[in-house]
């Protein structure tokens, strides 16, 4: 991805996050966690297009995109989905670069 395209994609993500921050003052509180995990998915997509990819990031994005819309239909399912995401994070919580 060239720098202009990258800057535009990041600007779109910033717009999504900033406007979400403003609107969530008055929107349904459940949209807060939805916007956060959706923003994470969008960030991972941008990084993938930039050549920054890994199995664990791809796993997170795939899991987010498969379950995020449960917020619209089933709160308990959405909660389980978020817990499952954290489980996935824990499963992959390791770093090659150690201090």
């Amino acid at each position: 991805m060239d720098r202009v395209k990258l800057e535009e994609r990041v600007f779109e993500l910033v717009g999504y996050m900033v406007t979400s921050g403003r609107n969530l003052l008055t929107e349904t509180p459940l949209y807060g966690p939805f916007r956060l995990v959706d923003a994470a998915s969008r960030l991972i997509s941008i990084l993938e297009e930039e050549g920054v990819e890994s199995d664990r990031l791809q796993a997170m994005r795939t899991e987010i995109d498969a379950g995020k819309y449960s917020v619209m239909s089933d709160v308990e399912e959405f909660e389980s989905f978020l817990d499952s995401l954290v489980d996935t994070l824990v499963d992959h919580a390791d770093f090659e670069e150690r201090r």
Binding site: E12, T19, N23, Y69
Partner: protein, 172 residues
């Protein structure tokens, strides 16, 4: 298409094919919208169709509820100055958004009958969208409707019925 099929078959679609929508088809959707009822027959709604991909990207920056990449977005607006002139405070604050919602439902059903997918969006920054669309003074966006050829068939969400239908003589 039979009316009940449209009412029960329509879903909120958030994934779309990369395929444009002809202008005459979009105009048919708007025609359906303006046949909705309105309080006092005010008809103070305004519809702004955005089908330029760059302008849709601009709108998305301030519209977190606008998900996916639709071929078109229709801003369902109200001329609140005229709504107040016609219906007073009730017209401006109550009837205008309701009328916009009823017009939107007509639009959604007409779109579904044409094979299009739609999603109604309230999660957007009203002032930001108004600026991007260069709306006239007094005209405010009430809802956005994303429109496109569907790339998904969302599941049927459950319908809640318990305590929803009440007949007057069974209500104590």
């Amino acid at each position: 298409m039979e009316l009940w099929e449209a009412i029960k078959g329509r879903r909120s679609v958030r994934a779309f094919l990369d395929r444009p929508i002809e202008r005459d088809l979009l105009e048919r959707l708007l025609e359906a919208a303006i046949w909705a009822p309105s309080g006092g027959n005010a008809q103070t709604w305004r519809f702004v169709v955005i089908d330029d991909p760059i302008q849709i990207r601009r709108i998305k920056i301030v519209s977190p509820g606008l998900l996916g990449d639709p071929a078109a977005v229709i801003a369902v607006c109200q001329d609140l100055t005229r709504a107040r002139a016609k219906g007073g405070e009730l017209g401006e604050t109550f009837l205008a958004p309701i009328d916009a919602a009823m017009a939107s439902q007509n639009l959604l059903l007409a779109a579904y009958a044409e094979g299009l997918g739609t999603c109604t969006i309230a999660s957007f920054h009203k002032k930001g969208v108004g600026r991007l669309l260069k709306l006239s003074e007094g005209v405010k966006p009430i809802l956005l409707v994303s429109v496109g050829w569907p790339a998904e068939a969302p599941p049927v969400p459950p319908r809640h019925r318990e305590g929803v239908f009440l007949f007057e003589d069974s209500n104590g």
